[in-house]
Symmetry: C2
Subunit: 538 residues, 2 copies
Amino acid sequence: MMGLMMDRPLLTTEILKHAVRNYRKTEIVTRTVEGPIHRYTIGDSEKRINKLANALVSMGVKVGDRIGVIGWNTNRQFELYYAVGGLGAVLHTVNPRLGPENATFVINHAEDKFLFYDTTFAPLVGAMRPHLKTVKEYCVLSDEENAGEAGKGAAIYESLLSGESDTYSWTDFDENTAVAMCYTSGTTGDPKGVVYSHRSLVLQSFATMLPTALGVTEGDTLLPVVPMFHVNAWNTPYSCLMGGVKQVFPGPRLDGEGIYEMLESEKVTYSAGVPTVWLGLLQYLEKTGKELPYLKKGLSGGSALPEALIRGFAKYDVELQQGWGMTEMSPVGTVNTLPPHIRELSADERIPYQLKAGRSLPFVDMRIVSPDGDVLPCDGECDGQLQVRGPWIISEYYKSEKPTLTDDGWFDTGDVAIIDEDGFLQITDRSKDVIKTGGEWVSSIDIENAALSHEGVAQAGVIGVYHPKWQERPLLIIVKKEGANPSAEEIIEFVKPNLDKIAWPDAVEFVDDLPLGATGKVLKTELRKMFKDYELPS
Amino acid sequence: MMGLMMDRPLLTTEILKHAVRNYRKTEIVTRTVEGPIHRYTIGDSEKRINKLANALVSMGVKVGDRIGVIGWNTNRQFELYYAVGGLGAVLHTVNPRLGPENATFVINHAEDKFLFYDTTFAPLVGAMRPHLKTVKEYCVLSDEENAGEAGKGAAIYESLLSGESDTYSWTDFDENTAVAMCYTSGTTGDPKGVVYSHRSLVLQSFATMLPTALGVTEGDTLLPVVPMFHVNAWNTPYSCLMGGVKQVFPGPRLDGEGIYEMLESEKVTYSAGVPTVWLGLLQYLEKTGKELPYLKKGLSGGSALPEALIRGFAKYDVELQQGWGMTEMSPVGTVNTLPPHIRELSADERIPYQLKAGRSLPFVDMRIVSPDGDVLPCDGECDGQLQVRGPWIISEYYKSEKPTLTDDGWFDTGDVAIIDEDGFLQITDRSKDVIKTGGEWVSSIDIENAALSHEGVAQAGVIGVYHPKWQERPLLIIVKKEGANPSAEEIIEFVKPNLDKIAWPDAVEFVDDLPLGATGKVLKTELRKMFKDYELPS
């Protein structure tokens, strides 16, 4: 027997309509690529989104067309999110850090028909243009006055909009229609495309706006440092509109000072970014002696949140909460919101819980599986491959020839994890980064975290290197903090109390920089190449 | 182009799984029908739900079967919610206040195969049994010790569960499958059946758990006074599990004292009920001099929330928030959460906003329409028929032969309303209760609210009565407060300053009780019969 409820689709346009109806006067503020601050309301933004939709239709955009964009977090990219999706077309956000070769690959692979870009990325687009096979028209996200050289051979965004009507009648379509796509910055092989549906992003917006997740609401101001060109800035351009949250887009200024200025002047209460970004901000605060009077909380994801950052921000009365997810998960799977009985503990007692990745959002199903494929208990002890399932988790990569899921329909995250009886997820490592030593597994992340607590350590990366007896042993690779000069022995002694004996690194090497991928993660593949023939001290 | 996300259904069982994973130790507390307090955790409840599912399968329950239940808010009915729905069967909650004739009608109309009932309702069930055509088996929600006479000719709930396994493997099915049904207590004609789907209740759970709606979360405790036998206690048995909220079920004790005891002993932070219930509690507080140290907020719906109640509870530091919805809307359409700029106002300045029904949840689309069918602007001035649309709004009544929706797919609520530019909905009247006088419309609710602010008035109802010149004029019908004795003239003078001249009642009549329907609303149809030949003073 079927329910007798209306068959109304979960479309992103409905989020926009909801926001216009209820939060019309709420602001959206942008630090523009040109420099000045741009501010308008959700009500204003709808008019520009309507203009853009009319312009896109005039340009010949059809249902299902892929529209590429290479841009900073700005109101213009925000407008593209809603206008492109509302038309039933697909916004393909391209990560400029992929570099010209990979960016060309993904644009050709997605078969983007149009390409929008910020002036900053004109050189990148220029380098790619001869190789882009499907792009019919280019559009620079600027105006007549500022486009300059960057606008050569391209339409100009503001000119496109200027003649159009500011009303548009959105039509309904299947909620499983594609709305956006993003390629993973795979450390091996070609990038792989993930295609989000209206349904998946709407459901994730509901889930992340729950008080048990981000916990922001009307009256809050959110600044996403996490880029809109990668997994939709963790879905915040959709979820903030659902929740009536003021958004502040930082544009191209992602350094500590640039972020600080916006946090301060717009009274931002919540921000979101990878640990590197939080570290940059913390260092800026420490250097300048400035305070964070408005910021209350922040979400950190993308890689493990080091204890030093949690403690560092706690001094400024800012609670960093860890989240975990993947491009393949739209991207949020877990958020670490502490339950009341943990919140009552002392700051020190809370730390072990804060270091976990948090608990799953509703409808994100998680299991851990042994190498033999047995499902293991969530007992806080067993670790195994983390597999996930849910309505905003990938079913297959775009144009993939191999199956993306396990035989029984789960997505293998490639992470090794432990889940405890209260649902807290703890990522122990990427499965390919685990160090296999003497028949046991050692987490590279645990060693990195232990090292990052040393005051002389700016960055840390751990890989397994060949050992004649133990198969692999951990090598700890360190970037020193400016002005600090710790010795290898000192660091090894420092990490020992926090690690099992089996995880004590056999050696420490110092480098000037760690190789980082397009989303800011340490590229362990590159580290392994650098230290391929490394010989451990015997 | 379609998204490439997993096709995972939105099933209520997933809410249960989420709660067990993340909020295992959170309590569910019941004042049992037998009297003692029963308490267990969400983890425990899952085991009993599994036992019940096994028992239902043993009894022969099949996908699509309707299972009737006539019960108080208790953990046993809560268990039925999840077990019946999880099997793909449909829980038909029967409102005992319908009386034997209507209750018989709805059970026969729904073709319930099994009927569960609390011992309290054994006489009602006994009276109906000879007339129930489809019920194959009865089950009393009790145990061997307490069933007594009420259990005659029926299975006993606890005995059914006792032999069963406490594990059950839920299977997946279409999210549009029916999960529950509830009949409207229509004031005219036969009750009409509304059939909820898993999808509709899951989506509403997400929406009502947003901070912009109820705003409860982990650490909060919610006591639903609103009955589980009518529109699923406003969906709280589902939403509270999604949000990790402790639930307190009041069982059969719904009087001021009974509710107060549970609010106090279980440190309830949020409650939900119709204005009559809130009034009963307020009167209890005033009589006893007791305080509400734990309760922070409450949701009032079902009929307009009088100003006197808002002010009355504000004295106890409890914020009553108004909600609006219908059985046909699963049932929540709007919740009144004040935006920050209103929250900053003084208590007096906030009142006009609090008297509105609030703003729509995401995906609830609202419009107001003139008698000619023109869509009117949301400008805070135009009033018209309120029509709604959304994924948890009815598409058709069960076995209905007439179309339920307008030609363009909207549900006409039967309410007359104004929507302002910030999205606030104001119900001015039921369209059939509007008083048509001299070519204009007067809201009966406005007059009732004005009268309810008088300290001598306990209840008020307004109807239009025949007038030779003006067609209709308002008659105000009053139940006096115990010990008070206001005169008709005094009340008319009292309401005048708060009403347009056209709305000043022509006369006041006093009665001992107002006729109430099965959900506690004043039956205007009955009032009209009582005052059919009423002659206004000339």
